[in-house]
């Protein structure tokens, strides 16, 4: 089956400095992969490079989405193929309402216009899943949003667009426990609805894994995945930190 996101021996440089030094990872629809690792290990670099941020140069290796090499195409084309990135630091766009932004994004992804009335029905349904007030759609995108609202807006976007492969870059950071549960429920809903989705969950903390069960846990250190395992591995890290893994790598 071609249905998978395959990252092969990926090397990525930022401003001439090599950050990723050969990452291998395969994500199939229906799977949740958690990516953990200390600060500066290259997790966000992987996320940005996958989506096509121009600052992140792929110097070696490839990224295949359902068999198609996406490493040279623009971010909007990657999005149309079903790739989605939830930003770690979403940007504010005053003057553009959440509703208008999401409708335009959906029309662009689908390549045809959805009737406004049908879109609003869809939007209200997704907002209800995330326990969002319907007035949220009328606000300017991320403008004056709290940290939790920004993350929720990212998840709302994900639910509306229904991408096949979702990269969530520290979506759990800065959320209180109730918001975390809501966001986790949103991710689970997406995962279990309609066609299967592959999810790459980049996180620092074990706590979100109490709500979203990962099929695999990977640990990244210094631009490489040094260890992969199941949920147990994340538990070990939570208890002992990354030290043991780093030591093991250097031996």
């Amino acid at each position: 089956m071609k249905d998978k996101l395959v990252i092969k021996n990926l090397h990525v440089s930022v401003d001439g400095k090599e950050i990723l030094k050969g990452v291998d990872l395969t994500i199939k629809p229906g799977e949740v992969h958690a990516l953990m690792g200390p600060n500066g290990s290259g997790k966000s670099t992987l996320a940005n490079a996958l989506m096509g941020h121009p600052k992140y140069k792929i110097t070696k290796g490839s990224v295949l989405l359902d068999g198609k090499d996406i490493s040279e195409i623009s971010p909007d084309k990657r999005a149309k193929l079903g790739l989605f990135l939830s930003f770690q630091y979403p940007k504010a766009i005053p003057g553009l309402t959440v509703s208008s932004f999401l409708r335009t994004a959906l029309n662009s992804i689908r390549g045809k216009k959805i009737a406004v009335i049908d879109f609003h029905k869809l939007l209200r349904e997704k907002m209800a899943q995330l326990k969002m007030d319907r007035k949220f759609g009328m606000r300017y995108l991320n403008d004056g949003f709290s940290g939790g609202e920004k993350k929720r807006a990212e998840i709302l976007q994900m639910l509306v667009l229904e991408p096949k492969y979702c990269i969530l870059d520290e979506t759990d950071s800065g959320l209180d426990i109730d918001a975390l549960k809501t966001v986790a429920a949103g991710i689970n809903t997406l995962k279990d609805s309609g066609k299967p989705k592959g999810i790459l969950l980049i996180t620092h903390y074990y706590r979100i894994l109490n709500h979203i069960t990962p099929d695999k846990v990977h640990v990244m250190v210094d631009g490489k995945i040094v260890k992969s395992g199941d949920k147990e591995l994340a538990q070990q890290i939570e208890e002992n930190g990354y030290e043991l893994i780093e030591v093991a790598k250097n031996e």
Binding site: T97, S99, S100, K113, A115, V116, I117, D118, H120, R134, K135, G137, M138
Partner: protein, 109 residues
């Protein structure tokens, strides 16, 4: 009073024979608002008489400068479906945006 009455969106929506027509109306846009005429609630009734089709509708205002353009779109798209189309304009009752439309247009707090 006009000889036509205004039907609700849900009433028109519930009729099987209207399905294809509504799908087309959803692709006709008011160029000024960028919203399709079905979502705006400009369609008051859809009357079938075999292949003869009467679309009873209004504009956001009687002076709507895009009126002829909108009617032309409807006529073209529904003719392609095989209907003989007759667009009937009525301004009584006048168009009033529903709460939902206000929300879609971005002017409710």
């Amino acid at each position: 009073m006009s000889k036509y009455s205004k039907k609700s969106i849900s009433e028109m929506d519930s009729k099987e024979e209207n399905k294809k027509i509504i799908a087309e109306l959803k692709t006709c846009e008011d160029p000024e608002l960028g919203i399709d005429i079905w979502s705006l609630g400009l369609i008051y009734d859809i009357i079938h008489n075999d292949k003869d089709l009467q679309i009873v509708m209004t504009f956001t205002s009687p002076m709507c400068p895009f009126g002829p353009q909108i009617v032309e779109q409807i006529d073209k798209k529904l003719t392609e479906l095989g209907y003989v189309v007759n667009v009937e304009l009525v301004f009584n009752p006048a168009w009033k945006p529903s709460e939902e439309v206000k929300e879609m247009l971005g002017f409710s707090g």
